[in-house]
């Protein structure tokens, strides 16, 4: 049996019909066409499928699409609709990512932190992204870039014109 749901993704409203077993990650990737949330383990271990659901990070591989009827999802595409945020600019400036597969999830975890905690400590940043596995960077350049963005910008996750 299919269910009709309405989902807001990066500000756009998407009416969708889904199976009860459909997972949010797959619906975002194959029905909405937003591909920044990535499959990495599909059991909640790696964090590469992280999205913001009503402003909080969730693993979209562990969320059923029928659960999010009427809710709002933001992915990294939605952070930078009108240009990069200062957070993203600093991640580029510091060459913080290597392969980049984990990047969308890491950025959303960092964005959630900065929304709650505008002046995080180094440990706060480590804690915030600890659910996002990265095999390339050793994490140090990512942590440094997040802290640099905080230093340099009053609101590192605001969209820059």
């Amino acid at each position: 049996m299919r269910h009709d749901i309405t989902l807001k993704v990066n500000g756009e409203v998407w009416p969708l019909d889904v199976e009860p077993t459909d997972v949010l990650l797959e619906v975002l990737r194959t029905r909405v066409g937003v591909t920044s949330p990535k499959p990495g383990c599909e059991r909640g271990d790696c964090g590469s499928c992280t999205v913001l659901l009503d402003g909080r990070t969730v693993r979209s591989c562990l969320v059923l699409a029928v659960e999010v009827d009427g809710h709002e999802v933001v992915t990294v595409e939605g952070l930078s609709l009108d240009g990069l945020t200062a957070l993203q600019e600093w991640l580029v400036e510091r060459s913080a990512f290597q392969c980049g597969y984990c990047a969308p999830g890491v950025i959303l975890s960092a964005a959630e932190l900065l929304a709650d905690t505008p002046h995080p400590s180094r440990h706060d940043v480590q804690e915030a992204i600890a659910g996002n596995l990265c095999r390339c960077t050793g994490y140090v350049p990512i942590i440094d870039a997040v802290l640099a963005a905080v230093q340099a910008s009053a609101d590192p996750i605001a969209r820059e014109g």
């Binding site: 077993t21 990535k38 969308p104 596995l133």
Partner: protein, 778 residues
């Protein structure tokens, strides 16, 4: 070295914006039409068994199933260095997880459901699960057909055994040297198997058009090698195969060569017109790609009282797994370099590639060197202790220098090994004893040196194309892969330096074998050197075209013309300042008659090491020049051991690596920071564990723990040494793999320094260390 404008300056990655915005597309992100089909494989539950029958009847009844295929339908073999692997197992399966059949269906769910309904009847055979068992005279033969497998000429299989390749190296007279030595020290070290654990799982989409054209999109380090192996296995012409490799989500060797991609390519040939997608789950990623091979290393070292190492016998027994088409070359690489970066006159190396009924071994960042370096560098600390010498001083005294004989007889390349040793030691205040922070917390320091050469065919080549655009910006096409290491940016910087165009105005993208020039594979930490030389040549050719056009149109002497700030200038004529954007497509107007000279600027370049050869005496390994050069380095580490729990806290790691010339220092630092953590993970957290039936026990990130952002050392100090590589682009040589090589012995040596116990098996988990301290070693 300080004279460059772009080379040697930290430059933000040119793929940075793609990666922070979600714009970067990986294979599974690519959109295909409604005719896209999905495949799932049927995996062997047995480590070793005969396949008696495969019944697909029930699977074929599942709605949405298009076809079920087995090894009878697609009887293809393949392999990079030895053709011992099959697209689908045929008469027998050789590891748990091996593909015996596949279902193609209209949805992933239908494919998965149907794959569970394929009935395979097996007759179990004795499973051989470790190298020691496999080497016994009466061991079950895993590959009875070993004698018939085609292989590269530098492999020496032993038919009617489980030894797929035995690399021997003999130099001097070790027995006489041991007899003369003042100290002889002997022990055994063991290293388990590891997973690459790139966050992106393997994925492939393949489509055979109705016109007979095969296009394959893969998450791969090796588009050209994949095309070649697809062509060989499937019997197609290279021109009819197109491999497109978008961004890849981490490789570490795991996406080199060909593994699951050939399944997708073969399946596509059975459903003409349809693209077919195969996407590995995390569990399949652990069980059926490549794994880092386990090794048991027997070491015997002899030395004089003054610290001179006079003899080394190093015997490596590799648990290479069910298929060794790539892994046998890991064994080979270690077998010609397992002396470490030391000048040793008498050497006896045996490196045995041993078939077992575990998943195929293969390339993993470090390519055998991480594995043998654990034993070797642990052993050298113990030798220093026996001799009453400082461990750093022992390494300094024996450090190989330019011109010294390598183990196989050729001369060592220029290297900054002694500088690396000195700087790494200084960075951790070597020799200064740090106070213990608490009675139950002991501080120790460890040290290790390392080296590694690219392991590849002697004629692995690189090609590059470069073109200017109307606005003076540049496109470069190459076929090295951006794995995250920063390759695209480094290539842009090399061209930028020659053409006086900023890297941000140079676009370098991931390959497509139809359009981009050849590259063997992005492995072996060799593309900065090799592909970089090709890009240097292409940029130089383009520069010559530009200067020649100006010379012909304006009459300036060629020797007076140069490029600076995106302009052509002349030392003879301060008034000449021709913007590149005005001349690189439209040509240079001759002021005398209004005609134009030149035309669209396009450069091509290529590189191949013309001095390398694998020809050598099979009994001694002497006579060839199999390695193009070695990259060297050294590292120091400070840690705390909590003796009540066995828990370790890594306070500081300082790692120095000789990059020759760092093209992009921030990228070299990135390799150090990432490699240090990946190396620490192999010693502190990770190992692949199997039950007594050969089943992998920890094929998830829940049970195979890779480090998180909370598991990093308190401080990592990257140190870049630059002793130029004479044949490298601007003196560069690769550093990508090297940065994880020394971490395991660093930790073992620091633990010994802190608490006086020597662990000879990896990983050194808190549990293992605690039990050892508690007097109950495993």
């Amino acid at each position: 070295m300080g004279t460059h404008t772009y080379v040697g300056r930290s430059t933000p990655r040119i793929d940075g914006a793609d990666k922070v915005t979600g714009a970067a597309r990986f294979v599974d992100d690519l959109a295909f039409g409604p005719d896209l089909l999905h495949a799932e494989v049927v995996a062997s539950p047995h480590a070793h068994a005969r396949i008696l029958a495969i019944d697909a009847h029930r699977a074929e009844q599942v709605p949405g199933v298009v076809r079920v295929l087995t090894g009878k339908d697609l009887p293809f073999s393949f392999g990079l260095y030895m053709k011992d692997r099959h697209v689908f197992a045929r008469d027998r399966v050789r590891f748990v997880g091996e593909q015996v059949a596949a279902v193609i269906a209209r949805t992933p769910k239908a494919a998965t459901r149907a794959a569970r309904l394929v009935d395979v009847t097996y007759e179990e055979l004795p499973a051989v699960l470790d190298a020691a068992t496999a080497l016994a005279d009466d061991a079950e033969r895993i590959h009875p057909d070993l004698a018939e497998y085609p292989h590269v000429p530098w492999f020496y299989p032993h038919p009617d055994t489980n030894i797929a390749h035995w690399r021997k190296l003999r130099k001097g007279d070790v027995e006489a040297a041991f007899a003369d030595a003042d100290v002889v020290l002997e022990d055994t070290y063991t290293v388990p198997r590891y997973a690459h654990a790139a966050i992106e799982p393997h994925a492939v989409v393949a489509q055979l058009s109705h016109a007979g054209r095969l296009t394959v999109w893969t998450a791969s380090q090796s588009p050209y090698t994949q095309r070649h192996l697809f062509a060989e296995a499937l019997g197609l012409s290279h021109q009819d195969i197109r491999v497109i490799t978008p961004y890849v989500g981490g490789g570490f060797g795991g996406k080199a060569g060909v593994t699951m991609e050939i399944i997708g390519a073969a399946l596509a040939t059975t459903v003409r017109g349809h693209p077919v997608k195969l996407h590995w789950s995390r569990e399949q990623e652990f069980a059926n790609t490549y794994q880092r091979q386990g090794v048991t290393a027997h070491l015997k070292v002899g030395a004089r009282h003054d610290g001179t190492i006079t003899a080394l016998r190093h015997t490596l027994h590799w648990d290479a797994g069910a298929y060794v088409e790539y892994g046998a070359n890991v064994v080979n690489a270690a077998g010609i370099s397992a002396t470490g970066p030391y000048r040793i006159d008498n050497v006896h190396l045996d490196s045995l590639c041993v078939y077992t009924n575990l998943p195929p071994g293969g390339p993993y960042r470090g390519f055998g060197y991480s594995e043998f370096t654990f034993g070797l560098e642990s052993h050298l600390d113990r030798l220093a202790d026996e001799l009453g010498l400082d461990p750093v001083e022992l390494r300094r005294r024996n450090a190989i220098v330019e011109g010294d004989d390598l183990p196989y007889g050729a001369p060592m390349n220029p290297s900054g090994l002694r500088e690396a040793i000195d700087r790494a030691a200084a960075a951790i205040d070597w020799g200064v004893v740090e106070p213990d922070p608490a009675p139950h917390v002991k501080v120790g320091k460890g040290f290790a040196a390392f080296w590694k050469a690219p392991a590849m065919p002697p004629n692995a080549g690189s090609a590059a194309f470069l073109k200017f655009n109307e606005d003076g910006s540049v496109n470069i096409s190459v076929s090295g892969m951006e794995l995250g290491q920063g390759y695209l940016t480094a290539m842009a910087q090399i061209a930028a330096e020659v053409l006086a165009v900023p890297p941000a105005r140079i676009r370098v993208e991931t390959p497509d074998t139809d359009r981009n020039g050849y590259e063997w594979q992005t492995v072996a930490s060799h593309v900065t050197w090799s592909s970089g030389n090709a890009v240097l040549a292409a940029a130089t050719e383009a520069r010559e075209q530009i200067l020649d056009a100006v010379h012909r149109a304006h009459g300036h002497e060629m020797a007076s013309l140069y490029l600076e700030d995106e302009e052509v200038r002349s030392t003879d004529d301060p008034g000449l300042a021709l913007p590149l954007r005005e001349i690189v497509v439209d040509g240079v107007q001759d002021p005398r008659d209004g005609t134009f000279k030149g035309g669209p600027v396009v450069g091509s370049g290529r590189f191949m090491p013309e001095f390398a050869t694998t020809r050598s005496d099979p009994e001694t390994g002497q006579g060839g020049k199999p390695n193009v050069h070695y990259t060297v380095g050294a590292a120091g580490l400070v840690l705390e051991v909590d003796v009540e729990t066995g828990k370790l806290n890594v306070r500081k790691v300082a790692l120095a690596v000789d990059a020759g010339q760092a093209i992009n220092p921030v990228a070299v630092e990135g390799q150090i920071l990432g490699g240090v953590l990946q190396g620490l993970a192999t010693v502190l957290y990770e190992d692949l564990r199997f039950d007594d039936a050969g089943r992998l026990l920890n094929p998830t990130f829940t049970d195979y723990k890779i480090p998180t952002a909370l598991d990093i050392p308190d401080e990592v100090v990257p140190i870049i040494v630059e002793v130029a590589q004479p044949d490298g682009p601007f003196g560069a040589r690769g550093v990508g793999e090297h940065t994880m090589i020394p971490l395991a012995p660093l930790v073992a040596n620091a633990i010994e320094d802190a608490v006086g116990v020597r662990l000879t098996a990896m990983p050194i988990t808190a549990e293992r260390l605690f039990l050892t301290l508690d007097g109950q070693p495993d």
